[in-house]
Protein backbone atom coordinates (compact mmCIF):
# COMPACT_ATOMS: atom_id res chain seq x y z
CA UNK A 1 0.00 0.00 0.00
CA UNK A 2 1.19 3.42 -0.71
CA UNK A 3 1.02 4.63 2.83
CA UNK A 4 2.99 1.68 4.16
CA UNK A 5 5.45 2.21 1.40
CA UNK A 6 6.05 5.73 2.63
CA UNK A 7 7.08 4.37 6.01
CA UNK A 8 4.10 5.65 7.92
CA UNK A 9 4.18 5.62 11.66
CA UNK A 10 0.99 3.60 11.84
CA UNK A 11 0.69 0.98 9.12
CA UNK A 12 -3.01 0.42 8.63
CA UNK A 13 -4.85 -2.88 9.02
CA UNK A 14 -1.96 -5.21 9.71
CA UNK A 15 -3.51 -8.37 11.06
CA UNK A 16 -0.42 -10.40 10.32
CA UNK A 17 2.04 -8.11 12.00
CA UNK A 18 0.06 -7.24 15.13
CA UNK A 19 -1.98 -9.37 17.48
CA UNK A 20 -5.54 -8.17 18.04
CA UNK A 21 -5.44 -4.71 19.49
CA UNK A 22 -5.12 -4.77 23.21
CA UNK A 23 -4.93 -1.01 23.18
CA UNK A 24 -8.27 0.64 23.93
CA UNK A 25 -10.39 2.14 21.20
CA UNK A 26 -9.23 0.53 18.06
CA UNK A 27 -11.58 2.95 16.37
CA UNK A 28 -9.61 5.97 17.47
CA UNK A 29 -6.27 5.06 15.94
CA UNK A 30 -7.90 4.08 12.69
CA UNK A 31 -9.54 7.44 12.67
CA UNK A 32 -6.28 9.16 13.45
CA UNK A 33 -4.27 7.09 11.04
CA UNK A 34 -5.53 8.53 7.78
CA UNK A 35 -4.61 12.02 9.02
CA UNK A 36 -0.93 11.49 9.73
CA UNK A 37 -0.62 9.17 6.79
CA UNK A 38 -2.27 11.69 4.59
CA UNK A 39 -0.21 14.55 5.89
CA UNK A 40 2.89 12.41 5.53
CA UNK A 41 1.97 11.66 1.94
CA UNK A 42 2.09 15.37 1.32
CA UNK A 43 5.34 16.23 3.00
CA UNK A 44 7.48 13.10 2.88
CA UNK A 45 9.87 14.26 0.20
CA UNK A 46 11.77 16.73 2.45
CA UNK A 47 11.75 18.97 5.53
CA UNK A 48 10.85 18.48 9.23
CA UNK A 49 7.39 17.06 10.01
CA UNK A 50 4.60 19.54 10.36
CA UNK A 51 3.09 20.37 13.72
CA UNK A 52 -0.20 18.89 12.70
CA UNK A 53 1.24 15.49 12.08
CA UNK A 54 3.15 15.52 15.38
CA UNK A 55 0.02 16.41 17.29
CA UNK A 56 -1.94 13.78 15.46
CA UNK A 57 0.64 11.18 16.29
CA UNK A 58 0.70 12.21 19.96
CA UNK A 59 -3.03 12.03 20.15
CA UNK A 60 -3.03 8.51 18.83
CA UNK A 61 -3.29 5.77 21.41
CA UNK A 62 -0.67 3.54 20.02
CA UNK A 63 2.86 4.88 20.15
CA UNK A 64 4.71 3.15 17.40
CA UNK A 65 8.36 3.19 16.77
CA UNK A 66 10.30 2.46 13.64
CA UNK A 67 9.49 -0.73 11.76
CA UNK A 68 12.06 -3.46 11.74
CA UNK A 69 12.91 -5.14 8.51
CA UNK A 70 10.94 -8.20 9.60
CA UNK A 71 7.84 -6.20 10.36
CA UNK A 72 8.09 -4.25 7.15
CA UNK A 73 8.45 -7.50 5.34
CA UNK A 74 5.24 -8.77 6.88
CA UNK A 75 3.15 -5.90 5.59
CA UNK A 76 0.71 -6.95 2.89
CA UNK A 77 1.77 -6.13 -0.57
CA UNK A 78 5.41 -5.56 0.27
CA UNK A 79 8.19 -6.29 -2.04
CA UNK A 80 11.85 -6.64 -1.19
CA UNK A 81 12.88 -3.46 -2.86
CA UNK A 82 10.60 -1.35 -0.71
CA UNK A 83 11.93 -2.69 2.60
CA UNK A 84 14.74 -0.19 2.67
CA UNK A 85 12.24 2.59 2.13
CA UNK A 86 9.95 1.08 4.74
CA UNK A 87 12.55 1.61 7.42
CA UNK A 88 12.19 5.22 8.44
CA UNK A 89 15.41 6.95 9.16
CA UNK A 90 15.40 10.22 11.10
CA UNK A 91 16.23 13.30 9.11
CA UNK A 92 19.84 14.38 9.46
CA UNK A 93 19.90 17.15 12.08
CA UNK A 94 21.22 20.58 11.18
CA UNK A 95 24.52 20.94 13.07
CA UNK A 96 25.57 24.43 14.15
CA UNK A 97 29.22 25.32 13.55
CA UNK A 98 31.78 24.49 16.28
CA UNK A 99 32.43 27.39 18.71
CA UNK A 100 35.95 28.78 18.97
CA UNK A 101 38.31 27.14 21.50
CA UNK A 102 38.54 29.08 24.78
CA UNK A 103 41.87 30.38 25.97
CA UNK A 104 42.58 27.60 28.46
CA UNK A 105 42.23 24.94 25.78
CA UNK A 106 44.65 26.54 23.36
CA UNK A 107 47.79 24.59 22.64
CA UNK A 108 50.69 26.14 24.58
CA UNK A 109 53.79 27.17 22.61
CA UNK A 110 56.73 24.75 22.96
CA UNK A 111 59.22 26.97 24.79
CA UNK A 112 56.83 27.97 27.57
CA UNK A 113 57.56 24.96 29.89
CA UNK A 114 59.48 25.82 33.09
CA UNK A 115 62.87 24.13 33.33
CA UNK A 116 62.34 22.01 36.50
CA UNK A 117 63.29 18.40 37.32
CA UNK A 118 60.13 16.52 36.34
CA UNK A 119 60.46 13.69 38.85
CA UNK A 120 60.77 15.76 42.01
CA UNK A 121 58.20 18.21 40.85
CA UNK A 122 55.81 15.34 40.27
CA UNK A 123 56.15 13.94 43.79
CA UNK A 124 55.81 17.33 45.38
CA UNK A 125 52.80 18.13 43.27
CA UNK A 126 51.22 14.81 44.16
CA UNK A 127 51.83 15.26 47.89
CA UNK A 128 50.53 18.78 47.89
CA UNK A 129 47.45 17.62 46.02
CA UNK A 130 46.90 14.90 48.58
CA UNK A 131 46.97 17.17 51.63
CA UNK A 132 46.41 20.58 50.14
CA UNK A 133 43.30 20.27 48.07
CA UNK A 134 39.91 19.65 49.60
CA UNK A 135 39.52 16.65 47.30
CA UNK A 136 42.67 15.16 48.74
CA UNK A 137 41.58 15.86 52.29
CA UNK A 138 38.18 14.37 51.61
CA UNK A 139 39.47 11.15 50.15
CA UNK A 140 42.20 10.98 52.74
CA UNK A 141 39.61 11.15 55.49
CA UNK A 142 37.60 8.45 53.75
CA UNK A 143 40.65 6.18 53.45
CA UNK A 144 41.59 6.76 57.08
CA UNK A 145 38.09 6.03 58.29
CA UNK A 146 37.88 2.90 56.18
CA UNK A 147 41.21 1.69 57.55
CA UNK A 148 40.18 2.30 61.15
CA UNK A 149 36.86 0.59 60.56
CA UNK A 150 38.59 -2.48 59.11
CA UNK A 151 40.85 -2.70 62.15
CA UNK A 152 37.83 -2.38 64.41
CA UNK A 153 36.06 -5.10 62.48
CA UNK A 154 39.02 -7.45 62.87
CA UNK A 155 39.12 -6.81 66.63
CA UNK A 156 35.35 -7.26 66.85
CA UNK A 157 35.61 -10.86 65.69
CA UNK A 158 37.62 -11.84 68.81
CA UNK A 159 35.39 -11.75 71.91
CA UNK A 160 36.88 -10.70 75.24
CA UNK A 161 35.05 -13.39 77.17
CA UNK A 162 35.40 -17.12 76.63
CA UNK A 163 32.73 -19.38 78.04
CA UNK A 164 34.65 -22.55 78.74
CA UNK A 165 34.55 -25.05 81.60
CA UNK A 166 37.27 -24.37 84.20
CA UNK A 167 40.65 -25.65 83.06
CA UNK A 168 41.74 -26.88 86.52
CA UNK A 169 39.92 -29.76 88.14
CA UNK A 170 40.59 -32.52 90.67
CA UNK A 171 40.22 -36.16 89.78
CA UNK A 172 40.70 -38.00 93.08
CA UNK A 173 43.40 -39.51 95.28
CA UNK A 174 46.48 -41.06 93.67
CA UNK A 175 45.54 -44.35 95.30
CA UNK A 176 42.46 -44.42 93.06
CA UNK A 177 44.75 -45.05 90.11
CA UNK A 178 46.56 -48.35 90.51
CA UNK A 179 49.63 -49.08 88.36
CA UNK A 180 48.93 -50.12 84.79
CA UNK A 181 45.54 -48.41 84.72
CA UNK A 182 44.17 -46.08 82.06
CA UNK A 183 41.27 -44.21 83.64
CA UNK A 184 38.53 -43.20 81.20
CA UNK A 185 36.10 -41.69 83.69
CA UNK A 186 37.09 -38.16 82.70
CA UNK A 187 37.37 -38.71 78.94
CA UNK A 188 33.88 -37.58 77.95
CA UNK A 189 33.54 -34.57 80.21
CA UNK A 190 37.12 -33.27 80.34
CA UNK A 191 38.90 -34.87 77.43
CA UNK A 192 41.68 -36.49 79.51
CA UNK A 193 42.98 -39.98 80.38
CA UNK A 194 44.62 -40.44 83.78
CA UNK A 195 47.31 -43.08 83.26
CA UNK A 196 49.49 -44.81 85.85
CA UNK A 197 52.25 -46.52 83.88
CA UNK A 198 55.97 -46.78 83.37
CA UNK A 199 57.84 -44.21 81.29
CA UNK A 200 61.60 -44.08 80.96
CA UNK A 201 61.95 -46.69 83.66
CA UNK A 202 59.85 -44.78 86.18
CA UNK A 203 56.37 -45.57 87.43
CA UNK A 204 54.40 -42.33 87.21
CA UNK A 205 50.90 -40.86 86.92
CA UNK A 206 50.28 -38.53 83.98
CA UNK A 207 47.29 -37.04 82.15
CA UNK A 208 47.01 -37.60 78.39
CA UNK A 209 44.99 -35.28 76.14
CA UNK A 210 42.34 -37.28 74.25
CA UNK A 211 43.04 -35.57 70.92
CA UNK A 212 44.70 -37.55 68.14
CA UNK A 213 47.72 -35.68 66.86
CA UNK A 214 46.81 -36.46 63.26
CA UNK A 215 43.63 -34.43 62.63
CA UNK A 216 41.96 -34.06 66.02
CA UNK A 217 39.59 -37.01 66.46
CA UNK A 218 39.19 -38.77 69.81
CA UNK A 219 41.09 -42.11 70.05
CA UNK A 220 39.82 -45.13 71.99
CA UNK A 221 41.76 -47.07 74.61
CA UNK A 222 41.87 -50.77 73.65
CA UNK A 223 42.54 -52.59 76.91
CA UNK A 224 43.15 -56.01 75.36
CA UNK A 225 45.70 -54.65 72.89
CA UNK A 226 47.10 -52.09 75.36
CA UNK A 227 47.06 -49.24 72.86
CA UNK A 228 45.17 -46.09 71.99
CA UNK A 229 43.62 -46.41 68.54
CA UNK A 230 42.06 -43.51 66.62
CA UNK A 231 38.89 -44.49 64.72
CA UNK A 232 39.26 -41.79 62.08
CA UNK A 233 42.43 -42.85 60.27
CA UNK A 234 43.91 -45.62 62.42
CA UNK A 235 46.64 -43.81 64.33
CA UNK A 236 48.00 -45.96 67.17
CA UNK A 237 49.69 -44.89 70.46
CA UNK A 238 51.29 -46.95 73.27
CA UNK A 239 50.12 -46.61 76.87
CA UNK A 240 52.73 -43.90 77.40
CA UNK A 241 51.27 -41.91 74.49
CA UNK A 242 54.08 -42.52 71.97
CA UNK A 243 52.77 -42.93 68.41
CA UNK A 244 53.79 -46.12 66.65
CA UNK A 245 51.39 -46.72 63.76
CA UNK A 246 49.15 -44.81 61.42
CA UNK A 247 49.37 -41.22 60.22
CA UNK A 248 49.90 -39.56 63.61
CA UNK A 249 53.11 -37.55 63.37
CA UNK A 250 53.85 -37.16 67.08
CA UNK A 251 52.88 -38.57 70.49
CA UNK A 252 49.76 -37.62 72.44
CA UNK A 253 50.07 -34.45 74.50
CA UNK A 254 50.15 -34.33 78.31
CA UNK A 255 48.32 -31.89 80.57
CA UNK A 256 49.97 -30.41 83.64
CA UNK A 257 49.31 -32.57 86.71
CA UNK A 258 50.18 -32.03 90.34
CA UNK A 259 49.16 -33.03 93.82
CA UNK A 260 46.93 -30.39 95.35
CA UNK A 261 46.93 -29.35 99.02
CA UNK A 262 44.28 -31.89 99.97
CA UNK A 263 46.28 -34.69 98.41
CA UNK A 264 44.13 -35.06 95.30
CA UNK A 265 45.52 -35.11 91.81
CA UNK A 266 44.78 -31.84 90.04
CA UNK A 267 44.84 -31.47 86.23
CA UNK A 268 45.50 -28.11 84.58
CA UNK A 269 44.34 -28.13 80.96
CA UNK A 270 45.73 -24.69 80.23
CA UNK A 271 49.28 -26.13 80.10
CA UNK A 272 50.24 -28.74 77.55
CA UNK A 273 53.50 -30.73 77.26
CA UNK A 274 54.68 -32.22 74.00
CA UNK A 275 57.15 -35.12 74.01
CA UNK A 276 58.72 -34.23 70.69
CA UNK A 277 59.84 -30.91 72.17
CA UNK A 278 61.41 -32.69 75.13
CA UNK A 279 58.80 -31.25 77.49
CA UNK A 280 57.97 -34.58 79.12
CA UNK A 281 61.04 -34.18 81.34
CA UNK A 282 59.30 -31.23 82.98
CA UNK A 283 58.20 -32.42 86.43
CA UNK A 284 54.90 -30.58 86.03
CA UNK A 285 53.83 -33.12 83.46
CA UNK A 286 53.83 -36.17 85.75
CA UNK A 287 53.52 -37.31 89.34
CA UNK A 288 55.83 -40.00 90.77
CA UNK A 289 54.67 -42.03 93.77
CA UNK A 290 57.53 -43.93 95.34
CA UNK A 291 55.64 -44.74 98.51
CA UNK A 292 51.97 -45.17 99.13
CA UNK A 293 49.79 -43.50 101.72
CA UNK A 294 50.05 -40.05 103.26
CA UNK A 295 53.80 -40.24 103.64
CA UNK A 296 54.14 -41.04 99.99
CA UNK A 297 51.95 -38.11 99.13
CA UNK A 298 53.99 -35.69 101.19
CA UNK A 299 57.16 -37.12 99.76
CA UNK A 300 55.97 -36.71 96.18
CA UNK A 301 54.79 -33.21 96.86
CA UNK A 302 58.08 -32.32 98.45
CA UNK A 303 60.01 -33.89 95.62
CA UNK A 304 57.95 -32.04 93.03
CA UNK A 305 58.43 -28.74 94.84
CA UNK A 306 62.17 -29.30 95.10
CA UNK A 307 62.42 -30.22 91.43
CA UNK A 308 60.49 -27.13 90.43
CA UNK A 309 62.63 -24.87 92.58
CA UNK A 310 65.82 -26.41 91.30
CA UNK A 311 64.80 -26.09 87.66
CA UNK A 312 64.27 -22.37 88.08
CA UNK A 313 67.12 -21.58 90.40
CA UNK A 314 70.59 -20.23 89.75
CA UNK A 315 71.99 -23.34 91.44
CA UNK A 316 70.95 -25.34 88.42
CA UNK A 317 72.82 -23.04 86.10
CA UNK A 318 75.96 -23.44 88.23
CA UNK A 319 75.62 -27.22 88.20
CA UNK A 320 75.10 -27.24 84.44
CA UNK A 321 78.16 -25.05 83.94
CA UNK A 322 80.29 -27.31 86.15
CA UNK A 323 79.11 -30.39 84.27
CA UNK A 324 79.82 -28.76 80.92
CA UNK A 325 83.38 -27.93 82.05
CA UNK A 326 83.93 -31.39 83.43
CA UNK A 327 82.83 -33.04 80.21
CA UNK A 328 84.93 -30.82 77.96
Amino acid sequence: MARAGKGGQQPPAEPAAEPPATQPSAAKPTAAKPEPAASQAEEVPAGPPKTASILAAARAEKKRGPLSKAEAGLLPGHDESRIEEAIPRPAKPVVPPMPAKPAYAQKKPEGAQPKVDEGRRGVLAMLSAMVGTSLGIGFGALAGTAGLWSLGLARYMFPNILTEPPSQFKVGQPSDFPPGMVDERFKAAFGVWIVNAEYNGQQMIYALKTVCTHLGCTPNWLESEQKFKCPCHGSGFYIDGINFEGPAPRPLERYAIRIADDGQLEIDKSRVFQEEKGEWTNPDSYVILRWGGAAGLRASQARADRARWFAASSLRRQVDRRWAEALR
Binding site: E18, P19, T22, Q23, P24, S25, K62, K63, R64, G65, P66, L67, S68, E71, M157, F158, P159, L162, T163, E164, L215, G216, C217, C232
Partner: protein, 258 residues
Protein backbone atom coordinates in the same frame (compact mmCIF):
# COMPACT_ATOMS: atom_id res chain seq x y z
CA UNK B 1 -18.78 0.92 25.49
CA UNK B 2 -15.21 0.19 26.57
CA UNK B 3 -14.53 -3.29 27.91
CA UNK B 4 -13.47 -3.91 31.49
CA UNK B 5 -9.98 -4.60 30.31
CA UNK B 6 -9.79 -1.29 28.52
CA UNK B 7 -11.18 0.58 31.51
CA UNK B 8 -8.61 -1.00 33.76
CA UNK B 9 -5.78 -0.32 31.40
CA UNK B 10 -6.82 3.30 31.09
CA UNK B 11 -7.03 3.86 34.83
CA UNK B 12 -4.45 5.98 36.61
CA UNK B 13 -3.54 3.11 38.96
CA UNK B 14 -2.64 0.88 36.07
CA UNK B 15 -0.65 3.57 34.37
CA UNK B 16 1.28 4.30 37.51
CA UNK B 17 2.35 0.66 37.75
CA UNK B 18 2.87 -0.02 34.06
CA UNK B 19 4.13 3.15 32.57
CA UNK B 20 4.48 1.94 29.02
CA UNK B 21 2.15 0.23 26.61
CA UNK B 22 2.12 -3.50 26.27
CA UNK B 23 5.31 -4.83 24.70
CA UNK B 24 3.63 -6.06 21.56
CA UNK B 25 5.67 -4.28 18.95
CA UNK B 26 9.37 -3.81 18.63
CA UNK B 27 9.59 -0.34 20.09
CA UNK B 28 7.62 -1.19 23.17
CA UNK B 29 9.50 -4.41 23.69
CA UNK B 30 12.71 -2.44 23.74
CA UNK B 31 11.24 0.22 25.99
CA UNK B 32 9.96 -2.28 28.54
CA UNK B 33 13.24 -4.20 28.63
CA UNK B 34 15.14 -1.01 29.26
CA UNK B 35 12.87 0.51 31.86
CA UNK B 36 11.76 -2.50 33.93
CA UNK B 37 13.90 -3.10 37.01
CA UNK B 38 13.93 -6.88 36.72
CA UNK B 39 13.99 -7.21 32.97
CA UNK B 40 16.81 -4.71 32.46
CA UNK B 41 19.19 -7.24 34.01
CA UNK B 42 19.01 -9.00 30.67
CA UNK B 43 20.07 -7.35 27.43
CA UNK B 44 17.36 -6.34 25.00
CA UNK B 45 18.51 -8.85 22.43
CA UNK B 46 21.18 -11.51 22.44
CA UNK B 47 23.04 -13.22 19.70
CA UNK B 48 21.88 -16.58 18.60
CA UNK B 49 25.03 -18.29 19.82
CA UNK B 50 24.28 -16.92 23.27
CA UNK B 51 21.66 -19.58 23.78
CA UNK B 52 23.54 -22.36 22.03
CA UNK B 53 23.92 -25.05 24.68
CA UNK B 54 26.93 -26.55 22.98
CA UNK B 55 28.68 -23.17 23.28
CA UNK B 56 27.78 -22.16 26.82
CA UNK B 57 26.48 -25.33 28.56
CA UNK B 58 24.28 -22.80 30.40
CA UNK B 59 26.11 -23.75 33.60
CA UNK B 60 26.49 -20.16 34.73
CA UNK B 61 22.77 -19.64 34.39
CA UNK B 62 22.01 -22.91 36.14
CA UNK B 63 24.33 -21.98 38.99
CA UNK B 64 22.58 -18.65 39.40
CA UNK B 65 19.23 -20.39 39.33
CA UNK B 66 20.40 -22.80 42.04
CA UNK B 67 21.64 -19.86 44.09
CA UNK B 68 18.14 -18.40 43.95
CA UNK B 69 16.67 -21.78 44.88
CA UNK B 70 19.04 -22.01 47.82
CA UNK B 71 18.16 -18.52 48.97
CA UNK B 72 14.44 -19.21 48.87
CA UNK B 73 14.63 -22.64 50.52
CA UNK B 74 17.14 -21.30 53.01
CA UNK B 75 14.88 -18.47 54.09
CA UNK B 76 12.04 -20.94 54.48
CA UNK B 77 14.21 -23.20 56.61
CA UNK B 78 15.09 -20.27 58.83
CA UNK B 79 11.50 -20.10 60.02
CA UNK B 80 11.86 -23.42 61.81
CA UNK B 81 15.53 -23.68 62.78
CA UNK B 82 17.13 -22.41 65.98
CA UNK B 83 20.96 -22.26 66.02
CA UNK B 84 21.45 -23.30 69.65
CA UNK B 85 23.04 -26.37 71.21
CA UNK B 86 19.69 -27.27 72.69
CA UNK B 87 17.63 -27.11 69.49
CA UNK B 88 19.76 -27.27 66.35
CA UNK B 89 19.80 -31.05 65.87
CA UNK B 90 16.17 -31.55 66.86
CA UNK B 91 14.91 -28.75 64.63
CA UNK B 92 16.59 -30.15 61.55
CA UNK B 93 15.02 -33.54 62.24
CA UNK B 94 11.66 -31.97 62.94
CA UNK B 95 11.64 -30.12 59.61
CA UNK B 96 10.63 -33.36 58.01
CA UNK B 97 7.37 -33.41 59.98
CA UNK B 98 6.82 -29.75 60.63
CA UNK B 99 6.86 -28.55 57.03
CA UNK B 100 4.15 -29.69 54.68
CA UNK B 101 6.23 -31.14 51.84
CA UNK B 102 8.67 -32.73 54.22
CA UNK B 103 11.61 -32.45 51.83
CA UNK B 104 12.48 -28.78 52.23
CA UNK B 105 15.67 -29.59 54.10
CA UNK B 106 16.60 -32.15 51.47
CA UNK B 107 15.89 -29.67 48.67
CA UNK B 108 18.28 -27.23 50.26
CA UNK B 109 20.94 -29.87 50.66
CA UNK B 110 20.58 -31.31 47.15
CA UNK B 111 20.59 -27.79 45.74
CA UNK B 112 23.85 -27.11 47.56
CA UNK B 113 25.50 -30.21 46.14
CA UNK B 114 24.19 -29.39 42.66
CA UNK B 115 25.38 -25.79 42.89
CA UNK B 116 28.92 -26.85 43.72
CA UNK B 117 28.91 -29.25 40.77
CA UNK B 118 27.53 -26.69 38.31
CA UNK B 119 29.88 -23.95 39.44
CA UNK B 120 32.85 -26.21 38.70
CA UNK B 121 31.38 -27.13 35.31
CA UNK B 122 30.87 -23.44 34.57
CA UNK B 123 34.48 -22.72 35.41
CA UNK B 124 35.57 -25.60 33.19
CA UNK B 125 33.44 -24.32 30.29
CA UNK B 126 34.83 -20.80 30.61
CA UNK B 127 38.30 -22.25 30.48
CA UNK B 128 37.58 -24.43 27.46
CA UNK B 129 36.08 -21.57 25.46
CA UNK B 130 38.90 -19.18 26.32
CA UNK B 131 36.48 -16.69 27.83
CA UNK B 132 39.10 -15.63 30.35
CA UNK B 133 41.40 -14.07 27.77
CA UNK B 134 42.00 -10.30 27.68
CA UNK B 135 40.07 -8.14 28.46
CA UNK B 136 38.10 -10.66 30.49
CA UNK B 137 40.87 -11.62 32.94
CA UNK B 138 39.39 -9.80 35.92
CA UNK B 139 36.01 -11.39 35.45
CA UNK B 140 37.76 -14.73 35.80
CA UNK B 141 39.22 -13.51 39.10
CA UNK B 142 35.77 -12.46 40.28
CA UNK B 143 34.53 -15.88 39.27
CA UNK B 144 37.22 -17.64 41.29
CA UNK B 145 36.32 -15.58 44.34
CA UNK B 146 32.70 -16.59 43.78
CA UNK B 147 33.81 -20.23 43.64
CA UNK B 148 35.60 -19.88 46.97
CA UNK B 149 32.55 -18.22 48.50
CA UNK B 150 30.35 -21.04 47.21
CA UNK B 151 32.63 -23.58 48.88
CA UNK B 152 32.59 -21.51 52.09
CA UNK B 153 28.80 -21.47 51.98
CA UNK B 154 28.90 -25.26 51.81
CA UNK B 155 31.42 -25.40 54.67
CA UNK B 156 29.46 -23.13 56.99
CA UNK B 157 26.14 -24.72 56.15
CA UNK B 158 27.50 -28.18 56.86
CA UNK B 159 27.79 -27.42 60.58
CA UNK B 160 24.23 -26.26 61.08
CA UNK B 161 22.56 -29.69 61.47
CA UNK B 162 24.90 -30.17 64.49
CA UNK B 163 25.28 -33.92 64.10
CA UNK B 164 28.43 -36.01 64.48
CA UNK B 165 29.28 -35.63 60.80
CA UNK B 166 28.99 -31.86 61.05
CA UNK B 167 30.93 -31.36 64.27
CA UNK B 168 33.88 -33.52 63.33
CA UNK B 169 34.06 -32.28 59.76
CA UNK B 170 34.28 -28.70 60.98
CA UNK B 171 36.73 -29.65 63.77
CA UNK B 172 39.08 -31.32 61.34
CA UNK B 173 38.61 -28.62 58.70
CA UNK B 174 39.21 -25.76 61.09
CA UNK B 175 42.18 -27.42 62.78
CA UNK B 176 44.07 -26.66 59.61
CA UNK B 177 43.74 -22.97 60.36
CA UNK B 178 45.99 -23.47 63.37
CA UNK B 179 48.89 -24.03 61.00
CA UNK B 180 48.42 -20.76 59.08
CA UNK B 181 51.71 -18.93 58.72
CA UNK B 182 51.97 -15.98 61.13
CA UNK B 183 48.28 -16.00 61.96
CA UNK B 184 47.98 -19.53 63.34
CA UNK B 185 48.93 -20.45 66.91
CA UNK B 186 50.86 -23.50 65.68
CA UNK B 187 52.03 -22.19 62.35
CA UNK B 188 55.44 -21.02 61.21
CA UNK B 189 56.38 -17.51 62.18
CA UNK B 190 53.89 -17.44 65.02
CA UNK B 191 56.31 -15.79 67.43
CA UNK B 192 57.04 -13.00 65.01
CA UNK B 193 53.85 -11.23 65.96
CA UNK B 194 54.68 -10.68 69.61
CA UNK B 195 54.76 -7.34 71.37
CA UNK B 196 57.00 -6.96 74.39
CA UNK B 197 57.47 -10.67 74.79
CA UNK B 198 53.72 -11.39 74.89
CA UNK B 199 52.46 -13.54 72.05
CA UNK B 200 49.73 -11.87 70.08
CA UNK B 201 48.81 -15.08 68.31
CA UNK B 202 47.69 -17.74 70.81
CA UNK B 203 45.10 -20.45 70.63
CA UNK B 204 42.60 -17.84 71.81
CA UNK B 205 43.55 -15.17 69.30
CA UNK B 206 44.61 -16.83 66.06
CA UNK B 207 42.91 -17.32 62.70
CA UNK B 208 41.25 -20.53 63.87
CA UNK B 209 39.75 -18.73 66.86
CA UNK B 210 38.44 -15.98 64.62
CA UNK B 211 36.73 -18.58 62.48
CA UNK B 212 35.27 -20.64 65.33
CA UNK B 213 34.57 -17.89 67.86
CA UNK B 214 35.96 -20.17 70.58
CA UNK B 215 38.83 -22.59 71.14
CA UNK B 216 36.77 -25.58 70.11
CA UNK B 217 33.64 -26.19 68.04
CA UNK B 218 30.76 -25.24 70.31
CA UNK B 219 27.79 -22.93 70.64
CA UNK B 220 29.72 -19.84 69.58
CA UNK B 221 30.82 -21.61 66.43
CA UNK B 222 27.27 -22.63 65.62
CA UNK B 223 26.08 -19.05 65.91
CA UNK B 224 29.01 -17.64 63.99
CA UNK B 225 28.58 -20.12 61.13
CA UNK B 226 24.85 -19.44 61.08
CA UNK B 227 25.39 -15.72 60.56
CA UNK B 228 28.11 -16.34 57.98
CA UNK B 229 26.01 -18.88 56.11
CA UNK B 230 22.73 -16.93 56.04
CA UNK B 231 23.78 -13.30 55.81
CA UNK B 232 27.43 -12.40 55.46
CA UNK B 233 28.54 -14.72 52.67
CA UNK B 234 25.27 -14.47 50.63
CA UNK B 235 25.59 -10.67 50.68
CA UNK B 236 29.15 -10.90 49.42
CA UNK B 237 28.10 -13.40 46.78
CA UNK B 238 25.24 -11.17 45.62
CA UNK B 239 27.53 -8.18 45.23
CA UNK B 240 30.14 -10.16 43.32
CA UNK B 241 27.45 -11.76 41.15
CA UNK B 242 26.26 -8.32 40.14
CA UNK B 243 29.81 -7.38 39.14
CA UNK B 244 30.26 -10.71 37.37
CA UNK B 245 27.12 -10.27 35.22
CA UNK B 246 27.86 -6.61 34.55
CA UNK B 247 31.25 -7.48 33.19
CA UNK B 248 29.84 -10.21 30.94
CA UNK B 249 27.34 -7.72 29.52
CA UNK B 250 29.89 -5.02 29.00
CA UNK B 251 32.31 -7.34 27.30
CA UNK B 252 29.90 -8.21 24.53
CA UNK B 253 27.26 -10.40 26.12
CA UNK B 254 27.27 -14.09 26.80
CA UNK B 255 29.12 -16.16 24.25
CA UNK B 256 29.63 -13.05 22.17
CA UNK B 257 32.67 -11.61 20.47
CA UNK B 258 34.22 -8.47 21.93
Amino acid sequence: MPSIGETVRNSQIWKSIFRHPMPLDRRNRIVVMLTNFFLHLHPVSIKKQGIALSYTWCMGGVTFFLFLVETVTGVLLMFYYRPTLQWAFTDIQALRDVTSLGILRELHRWGAHAMVITVWLHMYRVFLTGSYKPPREFNWVVGVILLLLTLLLSFTGYLLPWDQLAIWAITVGSNMARATPFLGSEGPGQQLLSIGGIDMITSASDARFGLLGARFVGEETLNRFYVLHCIAIPLAVAMLLAIHFWRVRKDGGISGPL
